[in-house]
Symmetry: C2
């Protein structure tokens, strides 16, 4: 058997998330269909983690196993010719059977894009931003700072996926300019993320940016370990799984995170 590792980008708009489900269109489902058409056998793929309905990915990492005789297939080209145009394989490498996209992942980074202007909007951005309106960016920055480090994120976890521990470490939470003057991009890199944790953190940050809570609110929520105390989850469409890291490099600088999964071939990748 040969294990293949691919990095994929997808527009989450028209998918019911990553995970295979009967009767609905999912990223995993589309990938397995395309791969199985090439191999002629049913192939299971393993992603670095799930993404919810409407959430995008620029650097989702996936692995699957094929017969040795299929190892020489030009997988990237073959898959891109079969996949629908809202999924793209950005790169593809053969890896050892030890590699596991989920269990070997040591860090992940996400971006969340906010649209800050209530009066002006570009309609083609609607599937990629949360139109949250004006925010106090200094307060937002102070709120992001409060998330840095190792904490119990029980207050920022939505129910549905049992986990052994709700402790995670956030290495970076930064604000970057977006592709339009009314957009900002929040980039967060951490050891791992609980269910809807990024969207819950962003929901809290927007409350702070709106002046409805002060940055210390983050600390008090972390201490309470109670999801019911925290603000509502931010909408899915602003979120993008940017990159998954496997121990080779860090993600503490604003550009470091772009290297791993999609910058290998020298491409920018604005969402």
């Amino acid at each position: 058997m040969q294990r293949i590792r691919i990095t994929i980008a997808y527009d989450g708009t028209d998918f019911c998330g990553w995970q295979l489900q009967k009767g609905v269109r999912t990223v995993q489902g589309e990938l397995e269909t395309a791969i199985s058409r090439i191999t002629g056998t049913q192939i299971r793929v393993h992603g670095s983690g799930r993404t919810d309905s409407g959430v995008h990915a620029l650097g989702q990492v996936v692995h699957f196993d094929v017969d040795d005789r299929m190892a020489s297939v030009p997988w990237q080209r073959a898959l891109n010719s079969l996949l629908p145009d809202d999924i793209t394989v950005l790169d593809c490498i053969p890896v050892s059977g030890d590699f596991h996209s989920r269990f070997n992942a040591v860090r992940k980074s996400y971006t969340y894009t906010l649209w800050l202007n209530n009066g002006f909007f570009l309609p083609w951005r609607r599937r990629y931003v949360w139109k949250c309106g004006p925010l106090d960016l200094e307060m937002l920055d102070r709120g992001m700072e409060m998330f840095l480090g190792k904490h119990d994120f029980a207050s920022f976890q939505n129910t549905g996926t049992p986990v052994s521990s709700t402790v995670r470490e956030i290495y970076e939470f930064s604000r970057q300019s977006g592709q339009n003057r009314d957009e900002i991009v929040l980039r967060v890199c951490g050891s791992g993320f609980l269910k809807q944790m990024v969207r819950n953190m962003v929901g809290c940050l927007v409350e702070i940016g709106r002046g409805k809570a002060d940055p210390g609110f983050v600390r008090s929520l972390l201490e309470k370990k109670d999801r019911t105390m925290a603000p509502a989850t931010a909408p899915a469409q602003g979120l993008c799984l940017e990159a998954v890291y496997y121990g080779e490099e860090g993600c503490d600088g604003p550009d470091a995170g772009r290297k791993q999964s999609h910058m290998e071939n020298g491409h920018d990748g604005e969402v």
Copy 2:
């Protein structure tokens, strides 16, 4: 009566074009529905021109007449609160009854976005670019140059809309960098455009950029005045009506065109 002039942006993906048609979703239809909900009477709107199904607009100009007692309605805000999120009113001004969005337009500019890489693609760009693959940009530039000036564009007109003359003047045809490294934006400004003329010009330019014709092909097509000799029409989704001009300013510089309809309030507007 008070005449109102609005500038709108829309994502053409989910519209059957601009023009009102029974039983399908059109930009004109959505606008008339929203305006009529505010006025309580049936209002007809007039656009600077039609756009086809899938074609976007960043600066479509529209006018309509309302009773004097409705003149003080905060139209931009009121319409944006009622319109679906794939149409936005970017600005709104009361104008004299002499103003006509179509008859007074003296110039228009369009952008057409091309994706040049066959191997790499960002899936969220699929509704806004033509993925045409690699092109010889020098040849493309030389082809664009051949369109400049006043010509009979009969070879670049699709049938369906009778016009008194097929002579038009192109003031500018330039290549700009896009928002991703694999994109380029062709910007064309002219006195007016025949049905699908921009897409037909782009279809011809891509043939030249692919080395299947030389730049002189443009001249020979212009001379032949025969649509059947010209290459296929470029797909709709790469096209965006950028701005409509009413005589106050030119459009011969790469930035001039951004001023009129959407830069008044200082916003960039990448498609």
